[in-house]
């Protein structure tokens, strides 16, 4: 079976800046593929090349077997594109936007209205069909942008940062929609800097950092790759110096996360005694203690060699205001 996406030794220069450096990967049909990385890592450049918006400096990229440079129009007919910022026409209604998208993608005239109604219902926008886009909320515009991208039943859907800027409810709804698309047989290629989102949605994940692919595997395999270490989250009733915790036996790394301390340890049970002894000596209480499996975020940080401070743009639950 043809790969949905095949990227081979892709490079992209912007003047003297190397945005993509010899990037290669494949995406199987009917899967959800996530491209993860901090802001400026090369995610958007990759997706722009794969959607025909940017020309690569070197290498090749094909979608459903069609080269994005040589057979751009044929490739584009098979893909749907949802850019980072919703780009529907504000001066048109939701339904008019869908019909225009249908016209652009050569959906048969007889099917356009029915397909538009179907998508409005699928994305819970049926009662806003005649609303001007300028009157819709950000979440509704996002859903409408995705609906427009699906009007021609694309085989591959590209989603660039699909939930950025959305409230928690809208983001959850959107993630459910992505899961539904996979069930419908659509290959979904998404970029995100919300790592937990990728963990929930993706069958395969590529991690990109400074224009290079640094890991390519399933989320579970990537997490298993850091299984040698475990994570202990602890909180205390009083202030604690990070340097005090690093000297406890078995502790490899310490990071402060809000009112908690995240310890990367060689063996969790070895550390418990040390933490209890430390709290007793300081006359403070342990108010919380959890042992966690390594997350995809931990895998990312381990693979890229960055600390949470360095990778500030990598978020887990955090949402833009």
């Amino acid at each position: 079976m043809t790969d949905a996406v095949n990227v081979d030794h892709l490079t992209k220069h912007y003047g003297g800046l190397l945005a993509l450096d010899d990037v290669s990967f494949k995406v199987k049909q009917g899967t959800v593929f996530g491209l993860l990385g901090p802001n400026g890592a090369g995610k958007t450049t990759t997706i722009r090349i794969l959607t025909g918006l940017t020309r690569p400096s070197g290498g090749t990229a094909t979608v459903m077997g069609f080269d994005l440079t040589r057979d751009a129009v044929k490739a584009k007919q098979r893909i749907g594109v949802v850019p980072e910022s919703s780009n529907v026409y504000e001066e048109m209604t939701a339904a008019q936007n869908l019909i225009f998208a249908a016209q652009l993608y050569n959906v048969p005239r007889a099917d356009r209205a029915a397909r538009a109604r179907e998508l409005l219902e699928l994305f819970s926008l049926e009662d806003r069909a005649r609303s001007w886009v300028s009157e819709l909320s950000r979440g509704m515009r996002r859903r409408l942008t995705i609906a427009c991208a699906l009007i021609h039943r694309p085989e591959v859907l590209f989603l660039d940062e699909p939930t950025t800027g959305l409230d928690v409810q809208s983001a959850r709804r959107l993630r459910e929609s992505v899961g539904g698309l996979r069930d419908m047989g659509v290959t979904v290629f998404l970029t995100t800097h919300y790592i937990e989102e990728a963990d929930q949605l993706c069958d395969m994940v590529a991690m990109i950092n400074r224009g290079r692919i640094v890991a390519l595997d399933s989320p579970e395999n990537l997490k298993a790759g850091v299984a040698g270490a475990r994570i202990v989250e602890v909180s205390f009733s009083g202030d604690v110096a990070l340097s005090d915790l690093t000297v406890i036996g078995g502790v490899l790394e310490v990071h402060r996360l809000g009112d908690k301390y995240r310890l990367t340890v060689s063996g969790a049970s070895d550390v418990y005694g040390g933490l209890v002894d430390y709290a007793r000596a300081r006359r403070i209480n342990i108010t919380g203690l959890n042992t966690l499996r390594p997350s995809l975020e931990d895998a990312f940080l381990r693979i890229t060699g960055e600390t949470p401070g360095d990778a500030e743009a990598i978020k887990t639950h955090g949402r833009d205001p």
Partner: protein
């Protein structure tokens, strides 16, 4: 012909989104009407000479400004990416945008031509030839609007580029002063301006039947518009780099 159908969809979208807005429509009309009041009503210029010049001018100001703004707005709102990601070539996109001006040009031209001919008592010699000249002028100036906005990132920047072309053309293309009244070197210089051929073609058509001048003017306008569309498509293609 699938590409032409998609170009027409893009054109109709542009008409709905950008053209049918009162500020856009009136912008193209205001200056030519003011010029007619300044020169025509006061009797300083022959209305027969002036009307064809003003009709060309209203098309130039109307279609070129709106399309230049429309392209920049599409870039700013990222809807241009929507068009570029669709299965249409840059040539189809540019053609669609130029055709949008071709829908509107005849409307704003009629809004000036009909009242002025009624008011001045001038006759429209060949309505069909006048209509054809208006259509081709609208397409040419609309395409020119797409080209000047290729480099612009902001609306004022697009308007600045458009003004570089519009204002010299407005006064040098035989709009107010017949070409034959100009010094020879200036007459030669005006031959690089598309408005010159638009004014001349309209003036011939207003006078009556098909003349060699009319045919030559229309051929030059057609070649000029083809070159502008090709250059705009090339610019759009290069924006992918």
């Amino acid at each position: 012909m699938e590409w032409l159908v998609r170009a027409l969809y893009i054109a109709w979208k542009d008409v709905r989104v950008y053209y049918l807005k009162a500020p856009n429509l009136t912008y193209g009309l205001m200056m030519p009407v003011a010029l007619y009041l300044a020169f025509g009503v006061t009797g300083q210029l022959n209305p027969g000479t002036l009307i064809s010049g003003l009709v060309s001018l209203v098309i130039l100001f109307g279609t070129m400004s709106i399309e230049a703004v429309a392209v920049v707005m599409e870039k700013q709102t990222r809807t241009m990416d929507r068009l570029m990601a669709a299965p249409v070539s840059p040539l189809t996109i540019v053609l669609g945008k130029a055709l949008a001006g071709t829908f509107l040009g005849p409307l704003i031209a009629a809004a000036v031509l009909l009242p002025l001919t009624l008011y001045s008592g001038e006759s429209i010699g060949s309505p069909i030839l006048v209509f054809l000249a208006i259509i081709l002028s609208s397409f040419t100036f609309s395409a020119l609007g797409v080209l000047v906005s290729s480099y612009a990132r902001w609306v004022p920047e697009a308007q600045m580029y458009a003004n570089f072309l519009r204002f010299p053309m407005a006064f040098l293309a035989g709009t107010f002063v017949p070409l034959e009244a100009m010094p020879p070197w200036l007459q030669t210089a005006t031959r690089v301006l598309p408005l010159t051929y638009s004014v001349e073609a309209l003036r011939s058509a207003m006078g009556g039947g098909v003349t060699p001048t009319y045919i030559l003017d229309m051929v030059v306008l057609a070649l000029f518009s083809a070159a502008v569309v090709a250059a705009s498509a090339l610019m759009l293609e290069r924006s992918r780099d």
